[in-house]
């Protein structure tokens, strides 16, 4: 059986976006907070 490799098959876009946001927002928050703690290392 050959499947679709399209990242957004019809009807699944909202589900993909929500899933991406649920994991992406916390990850972005974590990276942002970490960068803030890293800045003193470079004199920021």
């Amino acid at each position: 059986m050959i499947g679709s490799d399209s990242p957004t098959p019809a009807g699944q876009t909202p589900r993909l976006v929500i899933s991406g946001l649920v994991v992406g927002i916390p990850l972005a928050y974590g990276v942002f907070q970490t960068i803030k703690t890293v800045l003193p290392l470079f004199g920021g």
Partner: protein
């Protein structure tokens, strides 16, 4: 139980058109939550004061959790492969969340043993099952890019601490206005933090539970040519069971590879904050690197650890798994040697070298499931991965032991300088050299270990194609 039949493997098979790109966020949802295990330092001081216990007694909570991670991944791997990813993820969520809730009860009632039982023992089982639960499913959905797929998920474990540490600090500030990192928080604030994390993590992990699907038999992505992957060296179309895999020397060579790579990386990770201060300590005993900057350095290493998991594992899809580990271990030796020789010349040089080492450390974790798939096939890759993770548990003891023993012999903390680290760094070069040799020795598994009653994704795809092409009787 009928109410939980939606967790069964047969109810998890994807319908035609289901996007495989929903699977990495599902896996990431699990790994981001269980990655909290590396952010326990946020409330460690608070627990020491609350229980009036030693740092060792409180640190034992984390140790139990990590031991249970290795044990449950090794013991439950076959079960995870049998019941499918949804039931495994749900079970992991229940254990992980219950661990926090029982831990909160232990903190509220001042019963440390309940925290050992909850967060350590029960939560640790959730860690192990959660860690391996999405691996074989990702490999089946992404036969063309297994390194990228597992890299995305396992990156989450590295990222989990990046999320949990600032989130926990923020929550503790809300629950206890007097909270500071150095002074710690009140016990009731930590109990509320555990309750909050238990509920939030359960909900986020449910995203993984409801989104995860296994591909239907014979499924393959559009445009995927199994012949291209099969033609790569070391990639097998055969299948080896977990019980048979541990009887092959390939498994134990890979065990040594993972053990050496993790031992080398964890040695730096564990010592990161004092190490950067010691490397730039002047003759008067003062370090040019402030405590706050050293804390930032730990955060920077965590980011490279996380990034390496995705970037290097994805790269392995193009250059091959064996060659990727030649890089991790070979370049790792070079970086360690340079760190010993010129690491104290400037902070920039030190940061670049250690960041490279940590990116290879993370990459080693993320690439190994795809390596296992190449060598043993997809049949019980999750279970084999679980057994291999015992190397992580052993390295977690060996890495810090090597560094700490050497440093203990050289002087007291706060008085060490770069030269004191050199013996330990050269030992790590030797450890990486052993891993390098083990990797070079890996060859395809002998046919006598292959299973006959099971097929892998490639074989299923080929059978399905043959079925489609066969003339139908009228």
């Amino acid at each position: 139980m009928a109410a939980f039949s939606f967790l069964d493997r047969e109810h998890t098979v994807a319908k035609p058109g289901y996007s495989r790109w929903l699977i990495p966020p599902a896996a990431l949802a699990i790994h981001l939550c269980i990655g909290q295990a590396y952010a326990t330092s946020v409330y460690k001081v608070a627990l020491v004061e609350h229980f009036d216990a030693s740092l060792t007694a409180v640190g034992f909570i984390f140790s139990i959790a990590i031991v249970m991670l290795g044990v449950s991944a090794a013991v439950m791997g076959t079960w995870v492969d049998r019941v499918g990813p949804r039931r495994a993820m749900f079970t992991a969520a229940c254990f992980w969340s219950s661990g926090f809730l029982i831990g909160a009860l232990g903190i509220s009632t001042e019963q440390l043993w309940l925290v050992y039982l909850g967060y350590g023992f029960i939560g640790g089982i959730g860690l192990g099952i959660g860690y391996i639960s999405p691996v074989s499913t990702l490999i089946k959905w992404f036969p063309d890019r297994p390194g990228m797929a597992t890299g995305m998920a396992i990156m989450g474990f590295g990222g989990g601490a990046l999320v949990a540490a600032p989130l926990s600090r923020q929550l503790l500030t809300w629950y206890d206005p007097n909270f500071t990192v150095l002074a710690g928080a009140s016990g009731s604030a930590v109990a509320k933090l555990f309750l909050t994390l238990g509920v939030v993590y359960f909900l986020v992990m449910m995203l993984g539970v409801f989104n995860v699907r296994v591909p239907p038999p014979g499924w393959q992505p559009g445009g995927f040519d199994p012949a291209q992957v099969e033609s790569k060296p070391l990639v097998t179309t055969a299948h080896v069971s977990a019980s048979e895999a541990v009887r092959t020397h390939q498994f134990w060579l890979l065990w040594v590879v993972l053990f050496c790579n993790v031992t080398a990386g964890i040695g730096i990770l564990e010592q990161a904050s004092p190490m950067i201060q010691d490397f730039f300590r002047s003759a008067d005993g003062k370090s040019a690197v402030a405590v706050t900057a050293a804390a930032g350095f730990v955060g920077l290493l965590s980011m490279f650890n996380m990034g390496g998991r995705f970037v290097w594992s994805t790269t392995s899809d193009f250059i091959g798994r064996k060659f990727t580990y030649v890089g991790y271990l070979g370049l790792g030796m070079v970086l360690y040697t340079l760190l010993a020789l010129v690491g104290d010349t400037s902070t920039a040089v030190f940061v670049v070298l250690t960041a490279g080492i940590l990116s290879f450390y993370g990459g080693g974790f993320a690439t190994v499931p795809a390596y296992l798939r190449d060598v043993f096939g997809t049949y019980q890759v999750g279970a084999i991965h679980g057994r291999l993770l015992t190397a992580w548990s052993m390295a977690g003891i060996a890495g810090p032991l090597i560094i700490n023993r050497i440093l203990d012999a050289k002087g007291k903390p706060g008085e060490l300088v770069a030269a004191d680290y050199r013996p330990a760094l050269y030992i790590m070069v030797g450890v990486l050299a052993i891993g390098f040799i083990a990797n070079v020795l890996i060859r395809p598994v002998a046919e006598r270990h292959h299973e006959e009653a099971h097929s892998d994704a490639f074989a299923e795809a080929r059978e399905a194609e043959a079925e489609d092409a066969r003339p139908r009787a009228l």
